[in-house]
């Protein structure tokens, strides 16, 4: 597989940079924690039906984590013309896309791994057997957000709006994945698969697969000079 090597090299570079600076995960993680705490005050997160509210808050927090992480990871490439360096390198464009996709997944998962347990404790949720479903939900939902987001982030950094425009591009298109992810999270907080949960999971799988293909097919168009 000629894509995998360069993709892992790019993701590895970002990971090494992150372990040295701890720029992204620390700042994004703190921001998302603040979102969760603020939302706990702002929404009725106690009492009956709180699983639904909690699911919504959780995914708003995850969405912010993904958006901020992606914006930062692409902004790094703009410094000192890194992106140009990557693009003139012999690595195929698809590998560059996959590399940045891995980086963005890594950043977002790193935040989610910390936030999810904290969230369950702070909001006094009892997912029990639903924990596995929540993890699967985080994986599939984040993959959807980050696939579309990585493609759009490569566009956004080359606009006058820079990272500011990224949410405007990602949020409308990612509504189906957010709806599905929230529904699955609600079932997860309530203890496990409910009626229709499987359909929502399949919708996310379909969304992820479709836009992964579209992104791989179009990424070279947004990075050509």
């Amino acid at each position: 597989m000629s894509w995998l090597g360069p993709a892992l090299a790019i993701a590895g570079k970002d990971l090494r940079l992150e372990t040295k600076t701890r720029d992204v995960v620390a700042s994004v993680g703190l921001f998302v924690l603040l979102v969760v705490v603020t939302a706990s005050f702002a929404f009725p997160t106690a009492g009956a039906g709180r699983e639904g509210v909690a699911a919504g808050v959780l995914w708003m927090a995850f969405l912010f984590a993904a958006l901020l992480g992606m914006g930062r990871s692409m902004a790094i490439e703009k410094e000192d013309a890194c992106l140009e360096g990557l693009l003139v390198s012999p690595a195929p464009r698809e590998a560059v896309f996959l590399g940045k996709l891995l980086t963005n997944l890594g950043f977002t998962f790193a935040v989610e791994v910390v936030i999810l347990p904290l969230f369950i404790v702070l909001l006094q949720l009892r997912p029990g057997g639903g924990l596995g479903l929540l993890v699967l939900d985080a994986l599939l939902g984040t993959l959807g957000l980050v696939t579309v987001g990585t493609l759009f982030a490569a566009m956004a950094v080359n606009t006058r709006g820079r990272e500011a425009i990224l949410p405007l591009l990602v949020m409308p298109v990612s509504v189906p994945v957010m709806v599905a992810a929230v529904k699955v999270a609600e079932a997860g907080f309530a203890g496990g698969m409910g009626e229709g949960t499987l359909s929502w999971l399949l919708l996310m799988v379909g969304y992820d697969a479709l836009f992964l293909l579209v992104a791989l097919a179009t990424f070279h168009h947004v990075t050509e000079e």
Partner: protein
């Protein structure tokens, strides 16, 4: 490479408006004016008044054709975006951009006329029905398309970026519809009265509306494409200076 692509279209841009293009544009304009007048007359005098909904139902003769044009316009954006990425020809980018702008106008009309009808008939301005939700998302996606275009000053880059968004946005619409339908599936109330048992006069008026709005779309599209070509010529003049 960018200057090369720009130069290759310079002759085309030097004459932004041929006689033929102007004639076609006038033809669409004339057809739109005539058919819209006919539509108005039919909507008020030919189509019968709805027994349950009263006169407010007549807004459908604008609402439904606008929805059809909104969808057609974004399908054109999708096809033109693919054509642009495949060929790199500037006219496809102009077509996509023009169609997106006109599409946003008609989708806005849908989102305004819908609640005007919904309030007296349903008792509410808005409900998260799958069709309404999908149209709202469609509108938001293409607003972000127009915002993106505004944020990229370089013509070739703008064309590429917006083509990618034009493709992703359109592919997203059926998924949005599906998710909106499942999302609200616990609400069994189906508000919208389906066609089928429509009186023939209503159906004919609706079809005339669709034809009239298609002419209006073609007219607005041709005007907007002329503006796009003039703007491109101006951009080129700027580069050449």
């Amino acid at each position: 490479m960018e200057t090369h692509t720009l130069r290759s279209t310079a002759t085309e841009l030097a004459t932004p408006d041929t006689d033929e293009a102007a004639r076609t544009r006038r033809l669409w304009g004339l057809l739109a004016a005539i058919s819209l007048t006919v539509l108005l007359a039919m909507a008020f005098w030919y189509a019968p008044e709805d027994a349950n909904q009263g006169p407010v139902q007549r807004i459908f003769y604008i609402h439904v054709p606008s929805a059809w044009i909104g969808f057609l316009a974004f399908a054109v954006v999708f096809v033109a975006s693919i054509a642009f990425l495949a060929t790199g020809a500037r006219r496809f980018d102009e077509l996509a951009a023009s169609s997106a702008e006109v599409g946003v106008v008609f989708t806005t009309a849908v989102l305004i006329t819908g609640p005007l009808w919904g309030r007296p008939v349903w008792g509410i301005y808005w409900t998260w029905d799958p069709r309404l939700t999908s149209f709202l998302m469609l509108w938001l996606i293409y607003l972000s398309y127009l915002v993106l275009r505004g944020y990229v000053p370089e013509p070739i880059r703008r064309a590429r970026f917006s083509a990618v968004l034009g493709i992703v946005g359109f592919l997203d619409v059926p998924i949005v519809y599906l998710s909106a339908r499942w999302w609200r599936s616990e609400h069994p109330t189906q508000f919208v009265v389906e066609g089928g048992d429509l009186p023939p006069q209503m159906l004919v008026t609706m079809l005339v509306g669709v034809v009239a709005f298609t002419f209006l779309y073609l007219y607005l599209l041709s005007v907007r494409r002329r503006v796009a070509r003039l703007r491109a010529a101006a951009e080129l003049a700027e580069v050449g200076r």
